[in-house]
C-alpha cells in the first residue's frame, strides 16, 4: 500500500540526519512536521501517511472551511478561473506552488477519496498545476480551495500562464520537421557522393534529386519561417541581426540548388541546407530552456488578491472582483491579507507591514483616517477601509506603469552576435560581389556560380550557434545552483555590469529574523519570568522575538493585574506587587539611549536597561560584499531608516554610497542617474519597492526565499541561499562572453577555408556537406565544454 516509499529514492545517505517517515527523503530544516506516526518532510506526506493508515472517509467540508476563499463564490471570478464548464461538471487548473514530491502527486490525485464531489485530479508536476474536475452540486470552488489549503497546498490563483509553453511547442515541432527531412535528404544525397551505379540510371538520379528538393520546401516554409520573419522585421526596422544573413543564405542555397536540379547540372546543396536549418533550430531550442515554475513578466495584479470583501449597507459582507472596486467602497481586509487599492483606514488602530512595498523592516502603526497604500499587509486584526481610488489607479499601479514602457523597449535581442553579424553580412556580400566581378572577366557563367557559392558556404551557421550553446549550457549550470535567468540575453547583460546596487531589507538582511540585544545588568531568571508573563499578553510584532530572546527556564505564566497596553508605545502591569513597565523611552519616561529600535524595562520604577532590535544581515552578506568590492562599484539603497548606518558603513567600507529612507521612486531615480552617467548597473532587490529599480537597471536580480513564486518582475531570480555565489555568477557570465568570442573566431576560420574553396570556384556539394556540419559541431562542442568546465570549476 505504501507505494511512494518504493519510488522515492534516498539521496546522499551519509548526510541525512532525519528521514521522512512516508517518502524517505531527507527532512530539510525549513519544513518539518510531526505526528503520532512519525516525522515528515511536508504536510502532504503526513496527510498521505495518515490517510493511508487511518480509516479514510470524506472529510467534512466544515473542518477545512476557510473564510479566505469565500470570494471565489463570485460568478465573475469563477468564470475567469474555470477552464471548462458544462452543465453540472466544471474543471479548473490551479497553480499549487507547494507541490514538490511524488507523495504530493499521490495525495492530490487521490483527492476524490477524501472530498465528495471531486471527480478527477491530474497533476502536472513540472508546472505545479493540478487540473481538478468536480461536480458543482457537491463541492464549490471555495470549498476546493479551502481543502487544498487545508491539506497544505495553498492555491495561487494569480499566476497561471500558457502562452510561453505554446511557443516552445512550436519550436519543437519545427525542429522535428527539420530533423526528419534532414535525415531523409541525407539518405538520398549519399549515393550521389559515393559515385555508385546511380549515375548510370539518370531517371533514378533525377528522382532522388527532385525528392530532395521537395523535402526542402517544408523545412524552409515551416521550420525556418522565423528566420525570414525576423529578417524581414530587421530590414523594416533598419537594423541587422544574425537572422538576416541566415535568411539570405537559406534563400540563395535553395534557389541555386533548385536551378541545378531542374536543369540537371548537379545534385544541389539540399542536404547542407536542411542540415543547416536543423542545427540552427537545435541551438535555438537549447537556449530556450525555460523555467516552468516562474513567470518573469507579471503585472502588479498578481501581487494583490483577486477579490475584496465589500461591506454592504446592511452590515453583511459580499466579495467582489478587484476590478469592480470604486471610490467610496467600504471593504474589510483580514489579518495577513493585502490591501488591494489605496484606501483610508476606518479603524482606530491598525498595524501594517509595508516591507514589500517600501522596504521598511518593521510594521508601522496607523490610526483612524490615515491614508494607506495598496499592497500593505494587515498585521493586526481585520480592519475596515474606505477605498480612495480604483485598484488600477493606485500608487502601486502607477509605479508599475512608470517602468513598464522601458521593459518593452528593452526586450530587443542584443549580444555579441548582433555586432559581429553586421560586419559579417557586409563583408560576405562584398566578398561575393568582388570575387564574382573578378571571375566575370574570365568566365561569366562561373561568376554567378562563385557568387552564390560564397553566400552558401559563408552562411553563418557556426556563428549563429556559438551563443545559444554557450549561453544555454551556462543557464543550465546556473539553474542547478539556484540562479534562474529569464533568457540568454541577461547573461550578456550581466557580463557588462560595473556597478551593483543592493536593497537592504530582505536582500542583505533576512526577513523575519530579529537580533535582540540586552543592554544593562543581566536579568535574573525570576525577572525574566515576570517580563515574559507581561510580554506574552502583548500583540505587538516585537513581542515574539523578545519572548524568544528571554526564554526563561521552566516558564510559568503569572497572574497580571492592572494590565495596560498602549499600542505602539508599551505595556505596564502588576505581578504580585511588582510593578513592571516595558516600552519606548518616552513611555517609561527615560532618556533615549539606543540608536536603533529599542525597548526599555523598568521594574518597580527602577530602570533595569533596554533591549535593542535589528534585523540580521544574512550570514553570506559579509562575504558577498568582500568578494565584490575589488571588482565592482557598490551602493546600497534602502527604504528603511538610517539607524544602522554605522553597521553598514563598516560592512561596505568608505567608498560605496549608502542611501536610506528611499521611496521606490527615489530608488528608480538613483538607478536612472547612474544610467545617465553611463554606468551599467545591476540592481539586486527583493520587494515590490525595488521593482522600478530592478527594471531600470542594466540588469535586475530579484532575490527570493523558499517561496519561489513571489518575486517582483526582473531579469533573473536568485535563491536567497545562493546569494554568496553572486560574484561567481558574474565572473562566469564574463567567461561565457570570452567563450563565445573564441567560438566565433573558430567559425570565422572555417569560413575562411570555405570561402577559399568558393572563390576558387571549387565548392562542390560534397565539400559543403562536409564543411558545414564539421564547423557547427566544433563550435557546439567547444562552447558547451567551455561553459560547463568553467561553471563546474567555479560553482563546485
Amino acid at each position: 500500500m505504501d507505494f511512494p516509499s518504493l519510488i522515492c529514492t534516498v539521496k546522499n545517505t551519509e548526510k541525512i540526519q532525519k528521514e521522512c517517515t512516508h517518502c524517505q527523503l531527507p527532512i530539510s530544516g525549513g519544513s518539518h512536521h510531526q505526528s503520532s506516526h512519525g516525522e515528515y518532510c511536508c504536510y502532504g506526506c503526513m496527510m498521505v501517511d495518515e490517510l493511508l493508515k487511518g480509516e479514510n472517509r470524506f472529510i467534512d467540508p466544515a473542518i477545512f472551511h476557510n473564510k479566505k476563499f469565500d470570494y471565489l463564490q463570485n460568478d465573475k471570478i469563477q468564470k475567469d478561473l474555470l477552464s471548462f464548464e458544462e452543465g453540472a461538471i466544471a474543471k479548473i487548473e490551479i497553480h499549487l506552488p507547494q507541490i514538490h514530491c511524488s507523495s504530493c502527486i499521490y495525495l492530490l490525485e487521490n483527492l476524490q477519496e477524501i472530498a465528495k464531489g471531486i471527480l478527477d485530479v491530474k497533476v502536472n508536476f513540472g508546472q505545479k498545476i493540478a487540473s481538478i474536475t468536480f461536480l458543482k452540486k457537491d463541492i464549490t470552488l471555495p470549498q476546493i480551495a479551502s481543502l487544498l489549503h487545508y491539506i497544505g497546498y495553498p492555491p495561487d490563483f494569480n499566476t497561471t500562464d500558457k502562452a510561453s509553453k505554446k511557443r516552445i511547442n512550436k519550436l519543437v515541432i519545427q525542429l522535428g520537421v527539420a530533423g526528419f527531412f534532414f535525415g531523409n535528404t541525407m539518405l538520398l544525397a549519399l549515393p550521389d557522393y559515393l559515385h555508385s551505379d546511380l549515375s548510370l540510371d539518370s531517371n533514378l538520379q533525377q528522382f532522388f534529386r527532385i525528392l530532395m528538393m521537395l523535402f526542402s520546401i517544408p523545412v524552409i516554409l515551416y521550420s525556418a519561417q522565423d528566420y525570414f520573419i525576423n529578417a524581414f522585421k530587421n530590414i523594416r526596422g533598419g537594423s541587422i541581426s544574425i537572422d538576416l544573413p541566415i535568411a539570405l543564405g537559406i534563400l540563395v542555397i535553395f534557389i541555386r540548388s533548385s536551378f541545378e536540379v531542374l536543369t540537371g547540372i548537379g545534385p544541389g546543396y539540399f542536404d547542407s541546407l536542411n542540415g543547416l536549418i536543423f542545427f540552427l533550430l537545435i541551438g535555438k531550442w537549447y537556449q530556450q530552456k525555460t523555467y516552468e515554475n516562474f513567470r518573469f513578466d507579471r503585472d502588479f495584479k498578481s501581487f494583490i488578491p483577486l477579490a475584496a470583501n465589500l461591506v454592504l449597507q446592511n452590515g453583511k459582507n459580499h466579495s467582489i472582483p478587484i476590478a469592480d472596486l470604486k471610490k467610496g467602497d467600504i471593504i474589510i481586509v483580514e489579518k495577513d491579507e493585502l490591501l488591494p487599492a489605496d484606501a483610508i483606514l476606518k479603524e482606530n488602530q491598525a498595524t501594517l507591514d509595508y516591507s514589500y512595498i517600501t522596504g521598511e523592516a518593521e510594521p508601522i502603526e496607523k490610526t483612524l483616517d490615515a491614508k494607506v497604500y495598496a499592497g500593505a499587509k494587515i498585521k493586526s486584526d481585520a480592519a475596515i477601509f474606505e477605498i480612495l481610488s480604483a485598484a488600477d489607479s493606485s500608487y502601486l499601479a502607477n509605479l508599475w506603469e512608470q517602468f513598464s514602457d522601458k521593459r518593452k523597449a528593452a526586450s530587443h535581442q542584443i549580444g555579441i552576435n548582433t555586432n559581429i553579424s553586421q560586419y559579417f553580412s557586409l563583408a560576405i556580400v562584398l566578398i561575393a560581389v568582388i570575387s564574382a566581378a573578378l571571375w566575370a572577366t574570365i568566365d561569366l557563367g562561373k561568376a554567378i556560380n562563385v557568387f552564390t557559392a560564397v553566400l552558401i558556404v559563408a552562411c553563418p551557421c557556426a556563428l549563429a550557434l556559438a551563443q545559444p550553446f554557450s549561453s544555454g549550457s551556462m543557464l543550465r549550470q546556473f539553474g542547478k545552483k539556484g540562479f534562474f535567468l529569464k533568457n540568454a540575453n541577461v547573461l550578456h547583460k550581466l557580463a557588462e555590469v560595473e556597478y551593483i546596487a543592493f536593497d537592504k531589507t530582505g536582500t542583505l538582511t533576512q526577513l523575519d529574523t530579529m537580533t535582540v540585544q540586552w543592554h544593562g545588568e543581566p536579568l535574573a531568571d525570576d525577572e525574566k519570568q515576570l517580563l515574559v508573563s507581561l510580554i506574552k499578553k502583548s500583540r505587538h510584532s516585537l513581542s515574539t522575538s523578545l519572548v524568544q530572546f528571554l526564554s526563561p527556564s521552566n516558564f510559568i505564566a503569572s497572574e497580571i493585574s492592572d494590565f495596560a497596553e498602549i499600542e505602539g508605545e508599551g505595556l505596564r502591569g502588576y505581578i504580585a506587587n511588582t510593578y513592571l513597565e516595558i516600552g519606548r523611552a518616552k513611555f517609561v519616561d527615560v532618556a533615549e539611549e539606543a540608536s536603533t529600535t529599542s525597548i526599555y524595562v523598568k521594574i518597580d520604577e527602577i530602570l533595569r536597561g533596554y533591549f535593542t532590535f535589528h534585523q540580521n544581515t544574512r550570514a553570506q552578506t559579509n562575504q558577498l560584499i568582500q568578494d565584490l568590492i575589488p571588482n565592482y562599484e557598490l551602493a546600497m539603497i534602502s527604504g528603511d531608516n538610517d539607524k544602522q548606518e554605522k553597521a553598514y558603513r563598516s560592512l561596505f567600507g568608505e567608498k560605496p554610497k549608502l542611501l536610506f529612507e528611499q521611496t521606490p521612486k527615489q530608488k528608480l531615480e538613483f538607478i536612472d542617474s547612474l544610467n545617465a552617467a553611463g554606468q551599467k548597473t545591476l540592481m539586486v532587490g527583493d520587494g515590490l519597492n525595488d521593482a522600478g529599480a530592478l527594471n531600470h537597471g542594466h540588469a535586475g536580480i530579484s532575490l527570493c526565499e523558499d517561496q519561489m513564486h513571489f518575486f517582483p518582475p526582473s531579469d533573473a531570480v536568485l535563491k536567497a541561499g545562493s546569494l554568496s555565489l553572486l560574484p561567481r555568477f558574474l565572473h562566469l557570465s564574463k567567461k561565457n562572453e570570452q567563450g563565445i568570442k573564441i567560438a566565433i573566431l573558430i567559425s570565422l576560420l572555417y569560413n575562411v577555408v570555405g570561402l577559399s574553396f568558393a572563390i576558387a570556384g571549387l565548392l562542390s556539394p560534397l565539400v559543403c556537406a562536409i564543411l558545414m556540419p564539421i564547423s557547427s559541431l566544433t563550435v557546439v562542442l567547444f562552447t558547451s565544454s567551455w561553459s560547463s568546465y568553467y561553471a563546474q570549476k567555479e560553482l563546485k
Binding site: Y106, E109, G176
Partner: protein, 57 residues
C-alpha cells in the same frame, strides 16, 4: 531498378506517418510533464464507493 521507386515511395509514407505521430504527440501535450505519469502509473487503483458511482454518471 524500378522497384526502388515503389520502395522509396512506400517507406516515405511510413516515415511521414511517424512524423505525423510525433507532431500529434507534441500537440497533445505528452511531453509537457515528464514526471507525474511515471508516478501515476504506480498508483493503486482504489475502487472506493465514490469512484464507482462516478463511473456510472
Amino acid at each position: 531498378m524500378s522497384a526502388i521507386f515503389l520502395l522509396i515511395g512506400a517507406s516515405l509514407l511510413v516515415a511521414l506517418g511517424f512524423l505525423g505521430a510525433f507532431i500529434w504527440s507534441i500537440k497533445s501535450g505528452q511531453y509537457e510533464d515528464d514526471y507525474s505519469p511515471g508516478v501515476r502509473m504506480l498508483k493503486d487503483p482504489k475502487q472506493s464507493y465514490q469512484s464507482q458511482t462516478n463511473k456510472g454518471e
